[in-house]
């Protein structure tokens, strides 16, 4: 059986993967009513919708990056960088950022979808069939690639098209090796790190110390999502370094830079059209560039081969059974009240499921990253205070935006959970408490980071606690909508890969509720900060008074 047979089998398996990704029947969700072919088509359509959303983000990143390249002559003439930056060097720097973002975003997407791939259980179904090992490896590899097809094709096609459009066709062609390597490395990195996390995080024993270690691992998992921040923070210094290196002529630093991915490929378009002189390269430097390019392409090819051979082992793998588990120390159980039990259960599940851990960690780390920006401003300056408020605002909006996805945790063991006497109110309280806790931890982190930079701690805290009712209101509203939907037509599955579209639809009213008080603050702040914060708090409280009954009123006495 060859590639054609592998493709045919992967098509069947991908239908099943789509069905499980959307309806999670293996996790106990009841099968949807209606004709099976129609249900499968719906599942496939929704998977495509999710892929289109991810691909659109990648296309926007490419468009944004290339637009900066287009504006290079204007930007480099500003005194921002401290040293004169040649246009070609600036363009190479921006393309480096673009390729880095492509790798980071695809890598991050891969980390999110890998658990869905494993949970779908499509590969274990194929294993006992009389199919050769080689074909099974190919089926697994093709399945993995098909999960990324639209996003990967967007990077592979759209980026060269945009670059070619702005810098000319030769440059567009010259960036193709770069995007090929970026996609290959991203997919391999996702699998490599995903496999590590399946073993170390999902397979980790219980206990407080191990929980801390798991969360530490999970922080590492989330870090690729901060590539944008890293790029923004490092960009001026990186461009200045490039400009100095290019101006100094041939040097060891220059040779090292051209042999470092992804700068190697980002410089190729300029070198192809203008020669090595644009970066002060002599013949040796150009040779190193060519060798590095070829080397990375070979490595990318090897990464794809490795990936195709390794996916099967990951797809088959629930977490590894420990060889010799130490005996348990005591059987003490610490039951909590239902809403708190839901919150604790969600945090424990998130600590072993990176997709959910991301939702918890991202708003907190994001606020922390913005908070760090205050160190680049003058102490006590208005800019530092504005940044601190911006960090809290972002945390409020992100925590709200991810609210529907916290509800998706209920999909896990859905049928068993429904047999427990767990009221809808307890579920709502548990989830809203999680959203509020994320917001408050993020606010606390920003306060801790900026306490010496922002000289208005009371105003800052008033802002944080003034917005809190709006965050709660947004959570109540989203959960209320989702519970109504769950009662009418089963639990909506709203994880990134399976139901991004539905999650976004539910998030929009939540974002509006979280955003109205912030708009009121922004409008009135110019008159008086006190007036702005008073308006913020007032609007937030009114929203909470409206939204909480909407969610809690429907849950009286009903089980989730």
């Amino acid at each position: 059986m060859g590639w054609r047979e592998a493709w045919r089998l992967s098509s069947v398996a991908f239908r099943e993967l789509s069905l499980q990704a959307i309806y999670a029947i293996r996790l106990g969700n009841p099968p949807p009513s209606g004709r099976l072919d129609k249900v499968v088509r719906t599942a496939q359509r929704r998977v495509v919708q999710s892929k289109v959303i991810i691909a659109s983000v990648l296309a926007l990143i490419a468009a944004g990056g290339v637009d900066v390249v287009r504006l290079a002559p204007t930007i480099v003439s500003s005194p921002f960088f401290g040293v004169p930056v040649p246009v070609a060097v600036f363009q190479a720097g921006v393309l480096t950022g673009l390729l880095s973002l492509d790798v980071a975003f695809l890598w991050w997407t891969g980390l999110q979808v890998l658990p869905t791939f494993i949970a779908s259980g499509v590969l274990p179904v194929l294993e006992p069939l009389p199919i050769s090992d080689r074909t099974l490896r190919r089926v697994a590899g093709i399945l993995y690639l098909r999960m990324f097809d639209l996003p990967a094709l967007t990077v592979l096609i759209v980026t060269p098209l945009f670059v070619g459009w702005v810098l000319g066709a030769p440059s567009g062609l010259a960036i193709i090796p770069g995007v090929v390597a970026a996609v290959a490395f991203a997919l391999a990195l996702a699998l490599l790190t995903g496999r590590f996390f399946v073993r170390r995080v999902q397979g980790s024993r219980g206990g407080g110390g191990r929980a801390i270690l798991r969360w530490a691992y999970l922080v590492l998992w989330v870090l690729p999502a901060f590539a944008m921040f890293g790029f923004v923070i490092a960009a001026p210094g990186f461009l200045a370094l490039l400009a100095r290196t290019a101006g100094a002529g041939p040097s060891l630093t220059g040779d090292l830079l051209v042999s470092a991915f992804p700068f190697t490929f980002a410089l190729l378009p300029s070198v192809v059209t203008q020669g090595g002189g644009v970066f002060g390269l002599d013949a040796t430097g150009v040779g190193i560039l060519a060798l590095a390019s070829a080397g990375y392409l070979l490595l990318a090819g090897w990464a794809v081969v490795w990936l195709m051979g390794t996916v099967r082992t990951v797809g088959l793998a629930p977490p590894l059974v420990p060889k010799e588990a130490p005996p348990v120390h005591g059987y003490d159980l610490v039951p909590q009240r239902p809403a708190r039990a839901v919150l604790t259960k969600d945090l424990r599940i998130a600590s072993r499921m990176p997709g959910y851990a991301f939702l918890v960690l991202f708003p907190i780390l994001d606020a922390g990253a913005i908070g760090l920006f205050t160190f680049f401003t003058g102490p006590g300056s208005g800019a530092a205070f504005a940044l601190a408020l911006g960090a809290v605002t972002t945390a409020a909006l992100l925590a709200t935006f991810f609210g529907p996805a916290f509800f998706a945790i209920e999909v896990i063991a859905y049928s068993y959970g429904r047999t427990l006497p767990l009221s809808e109110r307890s579920v709502v309280f548990g989830k809203v408490a999680l959203i509020a806790a994320i917001y408050l931890i993020a606010g606390g982190l920003v306060a801790g980071l900026t306490v010496l930079r922002v000289f208005q701690p009371l105003v800052f805290l008033a802002f944080v606690f003034g917005e809190l009712p709006a965050v709660l209101a947004a959570g109540f509203l989203e959960l209320g909508i989702l519970l109504r939907r769950a009662r009418a037509s089963g639990l909506p599955i709203v994880n990134l890969y399976a139901g991004a579209w539905y999650a976004i639809l539910v998030s929009i009213p939540g974002l509006l509720v979280a955003g109205f008080p912030l708009v009121a603050f922004t409008l009135l702040r110019s008159m008086s900060t006190t007036l702005g914060i008073s308006a913020l708090a007032l609007v937030a409280l009114v929203e909470l008074a409206v939204c909480a009954p909407f969610a809690l009123g429907i849950g009286r006495g009903r089980t989730a």
Binding site: P30, Q202, A325, Y331, L333, P338, Y416, T419, P421
Partner: protein
């Protein structure tokens, strides 16, 4: 007796004219039976007979198309929360929170059921020790075998000492020692406090040893109900096993010799 369920009716389970329809397929039709206090009632049937659908409707997973289900007098559809407080359920497939350990899972269940720490811990300790869960109590459920998951589900179902236990093929994945423990445990469990057990299986030997009465389901319809002795009388058999009685009452024995001959010819 009424103390078991804290309701006005001491009957653990009363199912009346239950019908369950999926799309155009009728899984259960006009099914009526009662689980009496102190009784283990076995629901027997072939694959697709409607056993799991019936059980799922009792625990609130499937909404009946018609009929009523009462648990200690409480309507399972309109009073779902109070019914679930009185029921312990073991599903047919061990769908659990895979990312939790047994300890974390049992803490969640104990929390939702508002159990006291001491009582929950004492019960967890006695059941986990009996089922030899020492090595797996703090391992992620995802890494456990099917049999071990089944044990975790059994402990979760028993943690609040429910007056009604609903068990869907609960012994399937268990090792012989655990099966023996379960049989003993269930027999003693229903002996006090007016408790009841609804038990589905297609393993006739288990039903024969464990159940006080059985109901034989065939394509969604209750063909016969009673003690083994009364079913033998009804099937006009002597001292045949429950399997032979079952095959006769469901008329599935008619095709057995032909099916065996067909297999032998291949």
């Amino acid at each position: 007796m009424a103390a078991a369920g804290s309701g006005s009716d001491p009957t653990p389970l009363a199912v009346e004219n239950l019908s369950i329809v999926y799309g155009e397929r009728r899984a259960v039709e006009a099914l009526s039976f009662v689980v009496r206090p102190g009784e283990i009632y076995g629901l027997l049937g072939s694959n697709g007979a409607g056993k799991s659908s019936t059980i799922k409707s009792v625990v609130g997973l499937v909404r009946p198309s018609a009929g009523t289900i009462r648990v200690f007098g409480l309507n399972a559809v309109t009073d779902g929360l109070r019914v679930k407080q009185r029921v312990g359920y073991v599903p047919e497939t061990s769908l659990l929170y895979e990312a939790l350990t047994p300890r974390e899972f049992l803490e969640f269940v104990a929390g939702v059921r508002r159990l006291k720490r001491d009582a929950a811990s004492a019960r967890a300790r006695s059941y986990a020790t009996a089922f030899r869960l020492e090595a797996e109590f703090d391992e992620p459920i995802a890494s456990l075998s099917n049999g071990t998951r089944q044990k975790v589900l059994l402990i979760a179902a028993l943690l609040h000492q429910p007056p009604l236990l609903v068990l869907d093929e609960p012994l399937n994945a268990l090792d012989p020692r655990s099966v023996r423990i379960m049989k003993e445990l269930l027999s003693r469990y229903v002996a006090t406090g007016g408790r009841g057990v609804l038990f589905s299986t297609h393993t006739m030997e288990v039903a024969e040893q464990l159940c006080h009465r059985v109901g034989i389901l065939d394509r969604g319809v209750l063909r016969a109900e009673g003690t083994l002795a009364s079913l033998r009388v009804r099937a006009s058999t002597g001292d045949e096993t429950l399997e032979q009685v079952f095959l006769r009452l469901t008329r599935e024995d008619e095709g057995v010799p032909a099916a065996v001959r067909t297999l032998e010819q291949r």
